[in-house]
Amino acid sequence: MNLRTKAPEETTVVVGMSGGVDSSVTAHVLKEQGYNVIGIFMKNWDDTDENGVCTATEDYEDVIAVANQIGIPYYAVNFEKEYWDRVFEYFLAEYRLGRTPNPDVMCNKEIKFKAFLDHALRLGADFVATGHYAQVEYVDGEHRLLRGKDDNKDQTYFLNQLSQDQLARTMFPIGHMDKKDVRVIAEEAGLATAKKKDSTGICFIGERNFKEFLSEYLPSQPGEMRTLDGVVKGRHDGLMYYTLGQRHGLGIGGDGDPWFVVGKDVENNVLFVGQGFHHDALYSDALLASKLSWTGAAPAGEFRATAKFRYRQQDVPVTVAPLENGEVLVKFDEPQRAITPGQAVVFYDGDVCLGGATIDEAYRNGKRLDYIG
């Protein structure tokens, strides 16, 4: 099925509008192209700031302003329950295991391109569109997920779990633009959000202190910080507050190289630390991942690709071997630093994002590393 050949004036597109500049320009561009555009604001999190103002209200005000400027109808939809059940519960569960989850990947998979997409289809839409920096191209009967043109902004890492069904109904109208050009379009069109600051961090935490936020939901258990040789170097505030390869917040002084997190022993509540950014224990040559998902047809067997292990990292050459149990073994050509359980491993063939999985374990010379143990 390829709806992309339908004439714009016969095509209804629901744009997920966040009140930011990217989704504002997304709606604007589609409207200019002649599509029948509807703007919908998703409220996924119930939050009020220190002044008792619902933070989503401000963003929705921006959506209203922009939608009226463009001349499209706008609505709001509430996915707080879906977000809590399908994203936040997962987020907490991962932290309980001492892992570092990626809620944005889950939000795209479960909310934006599932609950929201279903909502849009129910309304009679042909597509949903978002302001992600990514592209979809229909080639040889397949909807291919391609990197955003702006290397610095490419967001396919967060979209790796999308399936053909989801991609068939998705548009990324600014994916072929550079961020600075998006701003220019917003300014030229006089959109109310043209100069609005980009949001940073995890959406539901916003600008708040991460540690404080997490401690509201999960009990923290302070424990010992040790070197891999068992030398106690101090106390940690709770394993969930630390991620692999992290330098800041350890509070270990003394001579020599700075200290880094090099592993966690969840069972005994020990945080392993080591000296030097390139500490040997941070390096692995393979990983095992689960929750594997392909954007197109599943590969027949082992294949060569490039992979990213975190957002905004240059991808590196790997060999990918899907296993019979649905997991995947990824072998790196060169050892990689700080492969972090809970994060996504995402595969590429050139500019095509092939899919991805959730990292469970890292290996060095066939031996599992104590990143989580």
Binding site: K43, Y75, N78, H119, R122
Partner: protein
């Protein structure tokens, strides 16, 4: 006309605009000025006051112009509470009031007043015995709406008014939603304070009044000039008052026709829904004739309202909400408790310009959209 949200606001009648226009362009004087053009404006204001007073069986000097229903409610409640707090701090209201009353009550609670929120029965009406039981010697104010804005249910205002005749408490009623169809005589129902708004009865937005029975004392809420006998400072909205007058005159001459029209629309809507096999129930009874609140089992309210809008049909759910926070209607919650019904009901409100054909078309669009929720269509 596919507008079925007249309880939210109404189109202004051309006659109203025509009546107002000279007071923008020609007789634009300040009604408090000493010169001729000011006096002419003042004369129009007084004439409007006389007509509006007559509309509800009041005297002209009992009408205080305000900016609308919310200001009238706020003035009545805070004004009465502050002026009479030495006589007591107890206030009685209901759980189904408009937010202009409920949120004012919450503020009064924060300021130390003791507010009783009466329950309603499944029809949306308060029980007179429950009211009697709630009434105390130190009750200073009772505020109960005339007819509900979400489901239309009328409250036993006259009975309560009679009960309060030998009591110190002031009796306020928000009649904003009721004045388009109900014949209201403030003496017969024994109210001390009554809120009204023009834009709900085909008048202009931005003007309303508070009926204040002679002798009733309210603490001032605004300070400035000496307008409205020092009860409400601010340059008088003369064109608004003239427009409100015209709208009230239209209500008085057309009342019976309007009631008959709304009843026929209500009937046509429900007959067509029955013919189309739509499962529904009407929320509330003893209703203001222009409001029909329908329970449509199985619908998901947010997409439902969007899909109706996409079909050009303007209807609403009980409570408007911002940024996608669907809070179940407080009115339906008071009637039905924590039930799916509070999240699967829509409000249809008729008005000038709606025809029987319109009501039938609305039923057809409702059927179309309801069916998408029944077939498991994604």
């Amino acid at each position: 006309m596919n507008y079925f949200d007249h309880a939210a606001t109404t189109p202004m009648r051309p006659e109203v605009l025509e009546a107002m226009t000279p007071y923008f362009l020609e007789t634009y004087g300040n009604a408090s000025s000493i010169h001729g053009i000011g006096r002419n404006a003042r004369a129009a204001l007084d004439s409007s006051r006389r007509v509006l007073a007559k509309w509800i069986g009041a005297s002209p000097n009992e009408i205080v112009f305000t900016s609308g229903g919310t200001e009238s409610d706020n003035y009545a409640l805070f004004g009465a509470a502050y002026a009479h707090k030495e006589k007591g701090t107890h206030i009685i209201t209901t759980k189904v009031e408009h937010h202009a009353v409920l949120h004012a009550m919450e503020q009064l609670e924060r300021e130390g007043f003791d507010v009783t929120y009466l329950d309603v029965d499944v029809s949306g009406a308060v029980d007179i015995e429950a009211f009697r039981a709630a009434l105390r010697d130190d009750t200073i104010l009772v505020s109960i709406m005339y007819g509900n804005n979400e489901v239309g249910t009328r409250q036993p205002i006259q009975e309560i008014g009679e009960l309060l005749q030998d009591h110190q408490a002031l009796f306020h009623t928000d009649a904003v939603q009721a004045l388009g169809t109900e014949e209201i005589d403030v003496k017969a129902i024994h109210v001390d304070l009554l809120s009204a708004s023009a834009h709900k009865v085909n008048g202009p937005k931005g003007i309303g009044f508070l009926f204040m029975k002679t002798g009733v004392k309210l603490a001032s809420r605004s300070f400035g000039g000496q307008q409205e006998r020092k009860r409400r400072a601010g340059t008088e909205n003369v064109p608004g008052a003239v427009g409100f007058q015209k709208a009230a005159e239209l209500v008085m001459t057309e009342r019976e026709d309007r009631v008959a029209l709304y009843e026929s629309l209500d009937l046509a809507l429900r007959q067509r829904l029955d013919e189309l096999g739509v499962t529904y129930e009407v929320n509330g009874s003893n209703r203001l004739p222009h409001i029909v609140n329908l329970y449509l089992p199985g619908i998901d309210l947010e997409p439902f309202l969007i899909m109706m809008d996409m079909r050009g049909m303007a209807i609403s759910s009980g409570s408007a909400c911002t940024a996608g926070s669907v809070e179940p209607s407080h009115v339906l919650s008071a009637m039905y408790g924590d039930s799916e019904r509070t999240r699967q009901s829509v409000r249809i409100s008729f008005g000038h310009g709606n025809s029987v054909e319109d009501a039938k078309r609305l039923a057809e669009r409702l059927q179309e959209v309801v069916s998408t929720f029944m077939n498991g269509v994604r």
